[in-house]
Structures are given as structure tokens and as C-alpha cells.
Amino acid sequence: MITKEIQKKLFDLMLKIRQAEEKIVEVYAKEQTMRTPTHLSIGQEAVAAGLGLALHKNDQIFVGHRCHAAYLAKGGSLEGFFAELCGRASGICGGRAGSAHLSDHSAGIYASPILSSMIPVAVGAALSFKMDGKNQVAVAVFGDAAIEEGVFAESLNFAVAKKLPVLFLCENNLYSTYSPMSVRQPSSPIFERVRIPELDTRQIDGNDAVLVYECLSRVVDKVRRESKPYFVECLTYRIREHVGPLFDYDRGYRTKQEVEAWMTKCPIKKLKQELIHSQIMTETAIKTLEEQWQHVCDEAYKKALAAPWPTENTLLNYA
């Protein structure tokens, strides 16, 4: 049952993610204060928001390089986020990890960018939950290219064979850097290709936050109750370039029309229309909320810039 509260929460969370990343877009090239390759999730926020709300606080997410959305959706520190991107000592990882490793372990969010490399780590977390009789769920979040690496198949096999409480969540945004699906994978849908009798899989519209939430709530509940893995493919689209803040339809690998068609399917735009149409929020209230998140992100960024750099003599700490 989708309540108004859930819809508002989903919208709020997506706005938070969008505003945080729009702040990066605003300053990344111009101010050059974030010297870390960033993989933006603009256009893909619904997956993270739906997942974030479907999970319990002590569940854990393991994600690849495009990790900002999952980080914020799982409750990773926003100030720690900007400070990390700016390489400051107050960054969530002390300025060592940068954008592609953004991890707030106290919030249960772990990121590492070798596409598939966090998938088995999620399976290991699930193994420990099962061994210790904990009622927790681990989620591996990865892109369509991650399934091309061997450890994905290894992890899936292990999780199914050992009946572990892990959700495999694939964000299919159709491209691996500049390489389209057509040169990388068979034409059949991913969720059909990875299906085996012991593993339930499904495909959903990853740009519909309400739908993502509804689906993942049920799936996560099943994973938790039955202690068995599940695979969900979310169809979505990356609006900006693979890495960096720009639009890239001048680079020849996809057309402007294609990008614009997906922009009309923007998950925030979609939920905004629903909220207004169902009179859950007014346009003014939405505008105010947007401005609030904008302000929060502006402040977090300013605070990051004012924060001290790590001192040179800390280079070898934890080495």
C-alpha cells in the first residue's frame, strides 16, 4: 500500500540526491574544487530512493562506481559527502576515497568502483547475517556492465547455492561508458538471461519511484523472510556523461533525441506530476522543498570548502 507519506518521502529523497548532484554539476568544471572523477546518477534517482525506503536501517548496500544516489539514499552523511569530494579531512573517508568509493560504514553503505567488485562483498555480508541468525538483508547495486565480469556469475551461484539473504539490483542504463548493449550482450533482457529455477528475477521501470519502492519492499521482505536471493533489473538511463558533469550527445555514441526522450521520463518529473495531480503537494510546496535541498547542499559545499585539508603527516595513517 503506497501512502501519501511514502510518495512524499520518495520525492524528498530524490530531490536531495538530484540537488546534491546538481551542485556538483554547477561547480565541477568551473571551480575545480572536486578533483575526483564523478559518475553522476542524474536521471537514475528512483532506483536508489525506492531501495533506500524499502530497506531497514541495519540492512547494507554494496555499490559500484555510480554510488552517490545509493550513498545518500541509505543515509550517508551529506556533509561527509561534499567534504569527501573536495578532498577534505572531514570527508566521510578523510579525503582518501573520493567519489567512486563513497562509503559511510555506520550507515551501511559501501562503494568500490571495479564494476562488479562489491557484488561478492554483499554476498559475504548476507552469509554472515545467515550464520548469525540476524534478520538483515544485503543488497548489491550494480550496472548492466557489471554482469559481464566473472565475479557476478560466481556470486550469484554462491548466493543461490547457499540460500543467502541478498538482493541483486541491476541498474540497466544501457551504456558501459560509450559502449551500447548491442556490442556487449545478447539481445535478450538481462533479467531473463540470469534466471534459473532457484532464482526469482524480474524487470521493472527504474524511473518510476513508486513502482520501484513497491517492488523492492516486497522483494526485500521476501529475501528477509525466506533467506534466499532475488534479482531485479531496473530499466533506467544516465542523462549526463559516463564520468563528469556534462551532456555528451555530441560524442556520437547516442543521439540527442534519445537523451531527450529519456529526459521526459525523468523520475522526479514523473512523481512531481503525480503529487500535484493527486493534490498531495502543491507546486509551491514542491518549489520550496527544492530550494530547501538546494540550500542544504550549498551550505554543505561551503562548509566543505572551509574545512581543513588532511595534513601531510597523515598520509600513512591506516597504511
Partner: protein, 344 residues
């Protein structure tokens, strides 16, 4: 109370004692609970703790390593076993990109108490891909503790230490040492990482030897003693962290260094020790440094070629005589029995 037990028994005993004390330790990997029990080292733990804490897995080396990381994040102490070190090549992504960098990159938000066992094969035609030693690669990347136990006493103490450590530890075991026996204390004890052992005192030449080559060097030292050549044998015990001081102190005393490694010499731990001494004790050297290791080819199967491939105590003797310019010395070979007779 010391008992005369083998390297394999010492490993088994360390695992049993550690698991009895710490319920978060579990052991997994292909075949850890089968009838052979990783050459006898996991039979007893399997008896006591299978299937909950000792369990068989698919052969997915890279995933298993990631799984160990995920479990370690949540309070477990996984022990992952590769019955052959060569299979660890499939796991290097998780070991190097994730495990080795974890605590540093995430700024100490979490630690990874993981032990990875890797057994180097030798003899009975183990051949090119069942005999390799990745110690130099593993020690090259910051973040992994690399232990290379050469005897039953050390292997037990290092295992107990590893199972209490909060960093990922790789135990590079040597199959040809499994039957080596020594007096080993029954009580659990810890051997600290980064403390080299002067296994034998000497005055004429320092041999820094690892793993199986420690035992071969001890034989060589016995042979040379009869000719009044005194060999000091230094076992680094762990390659990372490395006890530089013990190595340098020994070389400063003897003025001669031979690095005898259970690996190929090129880009190896032997090269590392040579570089260390060249940097920090160059003016104490009375002769150029020597390196001794495997011949520059993959390990062949045929016994004749295999014997030529691996250096032994005789080769160490010759290397030392060359280093000391004592070519006139004739040394009687020790009668040795190879306790490892196969078949696999």
C-alpha cells in the same frame, strides 16, 4: 608442553585452538571438509565445527575472497583456503582492489580480519600451475600481511597471531614442509608479525632464506661447518611487514649476503632484500650480493627437469662458496631423505 609434531599438525592444532576460543572464526574454500582435509590440516576442525563453521564451497576464488570481506565487515573472522596457491591468481582483484586497500581507503571506518591460506606445491610433477608462489606480488601492494612460515613452531604461532589480527593476512604455506617435525608447545602462543628469526648464528655469510629454502639453507650450513665456513641463516618470517633491522644487523656482521628464495629471483623478495642491503648496508659488504631461486622457466613435470629447476642445499653451498671466493673447498653432500614421496 612441547610435542614433536609436523607442520601440518601444527596448522591443524592452531586452527582448532583458535576456533575453540573465538566463535566468529569460520573456514571455507573448496574441499575444506572433505576426506583429505587440505592435506590433513582441516580434518580436526571439520570434525568439531562442520558444517556451520567449516564448509565446502564452489570453486569461485574471486567471489570467495569478496565474501570473506563482506563477512569480516560484520564481525566474522573468515579463513579462506586455496589448496594450491596458483588458484589465488583468480582472486587478485578482490585481494588487491578491495581487501588490501580497505582500511586505508575508508579511513579506518572498518577493519578486515581475514586469513587467506595458500599452499605452494612442489615435487611429484606438480608442474607449471600447481607450484607457484605469489608472495612477491602480495607483498608488493601495501595492505596485506604476508607470512611465509618455514617450520612447525612458526606456523602455529603465526596462525594464532593471524586469527587475532584485524588486517588481512596471507599465509603462504609450503607443501614440502608439511611433514617437517619439531617440538611445538601445546599451549596456544602468538608469533608477532615483522620479527625475523636468526635461525642459525654464523660469522662468514648471511643467507636470508624463505619458507622451504630455510630448511635447505640449514642443511647447507651444516655441510659448510665441516669446512669451517660459518653461515648465519635469517628467516624473515613475514615479508610484509619486513624486519629490516635483523637482516641489516646480520649483514653488517658477516659482510656477505645470499638471498635464497622459494620463488623466481626476478622482481622477487630476494631482489627486495638485495635492494635493501644495497641501500642501507652497502659499505659493509665485502662482496657482491647473490640471489638464488628457481630457474627462469615454468616448473616442469619430468623429475629430471624438476630437480634441475629447484635449487637445493647443494646449490646453496655452491652459491655461498662463489660469494666467498672459496672455489677450492670441497663439500660432502648430506644424506637427506625426501619425506614427501607422493603420489598425489
Amino acid at each position: 608442553m612441547p610435542r614433536f609434531i609436523s607442520y601440518a599438525q601444527a596448522i591443524s592444532e592452531a586452527l582448532v585452538q583458535a576456533m575453540q576460543e573465538d566463535k566468529d572464526i569460520f573456514i571455507f574454500g573448496l574441499g575444506v571438509d572433505d576426506c583429505k582435509g587440505i592435506f590433513g590440516t582441516t580434518i580436526e576442525v571439520a570434525k568439531q565445527f562442520a558444517p556451520q563453521r567449516v564448509f565446502d564451497t564452489p570453486a569461485c576464488e574471486n567471489a570467495l575472497t569478496g565474501i570473506a570481506i563482506g563477512a569480516a565487515l560484520n564481525g566474522k573472522r573468515p579463513v579462506l583456503v586455496h589448496a594450491r596457491h596458483d588458484f589465488m591468481l583468480l582472486a587478485l582483484d578482490q585481494m588487491i582492489n578491495n581487501a588490501a586497500k580497505w582500511t586505508y581507503t575508508y579511513h579506518g571506518q572498518s577493519t578486515l580480519p581475514i586469513v587467506i591460506r595458500a599452499i605452494v606445491g612442489k615435487g611429484w610433477g606438480q608442474g607449471p600451475t600447481h607450484s607457484q608462489n605469489l608472495q612477491a606480488v602480495l607483498a608488493h601492494f601495501p595492505g596485506l600481511i604476508v607470512a611465509v612460515p618455514s617450520n612447525p613452531v612458526d606456523v602455529k604461532g603465526l596462525f594464532i597471531q593471524a586469527l587475532k589480527s584485524n588486517s588481512p593476512v596471507v599465509m603462504v604455506e609450503h607443501r614440502a614442509l608439511y611433514d617437517l617435525k619439531a617440538d611445538v608447545s601445546q599451549e596456544p602462543y602468538r608469533l608477532p608479525f615483522g620479527h625475523a628469526r636468526v635461525v642459525r648464528m654464523g660469522r662468514d655469510v648471511t643467507v636470508v632464506a624463505t619458507s622451504l629454502m630455510v630448511q635447505e639453507t640449514l642443511k647447507a650450513a651444516t655441510m659448510l661447518e665441516a669446512q669451517d665456513i660459518s653461515v648465519e641463516v635469517v628467516d624473515p618470517v613475514t615479508l610484509n611487514p619486513l624486519d629490516e633491522k635483523t637482516i641489516l644487523t646480520s649483514v653488517k656482521k658477516t659482510g656477505h649476503l645470499l638471498c635464497a628464495d622459494s620463488d623466481w629471483p626476478k622482481c622477487s623478495f630476494a631482489s627486495e632484500v638485495a635492494a635493501l642491503v644495497a641501500e642501507k648496508a652497502f659499505y659493509d659488504l665485502k662482496a657482491p650480493i647473490g640471489r638464488l631461486g628457481w630457474k627462469a622457466c615454468p616448473a616442469p613435470v619430468s623429475k629430471v627437469l624438476e630437480d634441475e629447476f629447484y635449487p637445493d642445499s647443494q646449490d646453496i653451498v655452491q652459491a655461498i662458496l662463489k660469494l666467498l671466493k672459496r672455489h677450492e673447498v670441497k663439500v660432502n653432500p648430506l644424506k637427506t631423505i625426501d619425506s614427501f614421496s607422493g603420489p598425489y
